[in-house]
Amino acid sequence: MSGTDGLALATRGLRKNYGSRHALDGLNLSVPAGVVYGFLGPNGAGKTTTMRVLTGLIHADGGSVEVLGKPFRRGDRHRLFDVGALVESPTFYPYLSGRANLRELAASGGPVQPRRIEELLDLVGLCDRANDKVQDYSMGMKQRLGIAAALLNDPRLLLLDEPANGLDPAGIVAMRDTLKTLATQGKTVFVSSHLLAEIQVMADVVGIISAGKLVREGPLKELLSFQGVVKARVRPSAVEAAIRILAPLATAERLTETDRDEGWLAVRIAPARAEDVSQKLAGAGIYVSGLESGNDLEMLFLELTGGQAITGEGAFVGLGSTTNGSAAGKGSAA
């Protein structure tokens, strides 16, 4: 495969069809080593199909995959000895304890040091419940156990599908810190998620997929430098007037998803020009009571995916023309 030096994971022209539907339509991913890579896409875009192909659960109809610098074809299962994966919701033997599940899982695939299980139980905060049967675990606990299972063989490449699912806020923060730490240790973390805010604070590099194709890929900072948003709050009765006033400056949209959005406008403009927004409105006699600016992954995502709705836990409805209920991007650093 050409042009894949220094990449922990690469796909070239990856194709997968389900009947007449193209789940993957020539997907080209380039995941650099030692980064947290955010893999984003609307429902049905092909994220899970990609994860399944990368973990050998299903076989691609065309194209190629390179894992840790070596081709990963049918029969190259040993490549996965250096890969840890959490694909879809984690599933276990319900009648076994968390500790026993990890021990039995460690019996398959590459070798695992026995002490590793205790280290991981400690890492994911399950030591106290490690001897309880998994059938008594909450979804969040199963997710923690799934993350521990993915880390069993101390993988150089970690593939995680929606790892924040079911985790409480503290768990999400801990998970995020763990993944960032792994990346600083030179490991590569590939995270598929629909939680844009989570990816925005965690990922170094982002790939956005739509309809089975990669529509944008690159360092997050670089991508967001072209995608700014300023959010301004005015009197609810002045929102329509404010949108008209700002029209010569930039496109503005009303945020109406929740009551807390009342009076808020999203203005697509570089964060550095927040002052211009305030000045323009003040010049027309409309004074802002709140002003936030930042780079918004959500805006970029919606633009690239054609505003397709994302649904699911912690998700929001697509911006469309008038709506945006997400907290993503709010208060992000200017």
Binding site: R52, T91, A100, L105, G109, G110
Partner: protein, 269 residues
Amino acid sequence: MRLLFSGLRKLVRRPATWVTLGLLVGLLVLIIVAVGATANSRVNPTREATAKLLVTFPGAYARILEFITGLGGLFAVIYGAAIAGSEWSWGTLKWAVARGESRVRYMLISYVSVAVMIAAGLLITFAAGVVAAVVGAHLAGVSTSGLGDSATLGDLPLRLLKGWFAVVEEGALGFTIATLARSQLAGIGAGIAFYFGEGFASLFLPDIVKYLPFSVANAALSTGASNAQMFAGGASPLPADQALLLVAVWLVGALVVAALFSDRAEIAG
């Protein structure tokens, strides 16, 4: 070996293992003790003699073993289906594959674990059956002098081995059906239907059915008693040696199908 030991640990801790064993032992003990306790109260002398045969040694050894391969075969189908089906239903096969484990190796070793558990279950059930038969013999007032019959005891290990082989073949059918169905419930349901379907079909197509898996499993141990006749319908059961060969063919065939399907299947969900 670590995969095999893991498979055994999983099965030992699995409630289905103990429920299956408990049901089989319970039924066997209940039937034998009940027959022994009521043998003398039967009005018909022929029936009384037949009932006493079940608790009369050394013949009781063979009858207990036939009971185990008969009803135990059905239980093995259910157990095999439960083990294979749960790997798909619970998504645990997915974990192993994503860790780089060979699908074929994983499934085959899973079944080897099942076969080991069947061996242990067969020995436990047989021992419980013998104890129950001794109790039944006392209740029926039948002598247990044949208990130590040296010729029968000398032949017993080989008969147990053949019995195990037959039950393992029956379990493999359940295992394969559940693998193809990717579901515990579907596998168990189809396995039970196949078991009774074969018995029912033997009434109409005895010359064909006698080559089918459950028929050959019973014929492999047959001493001309009930189970083999049930599955053979009106036809004569196959000779034991020929049946044993066919048991091997069905066993290998079933496991090859399960392995090939697992290797090629797309794992989702």
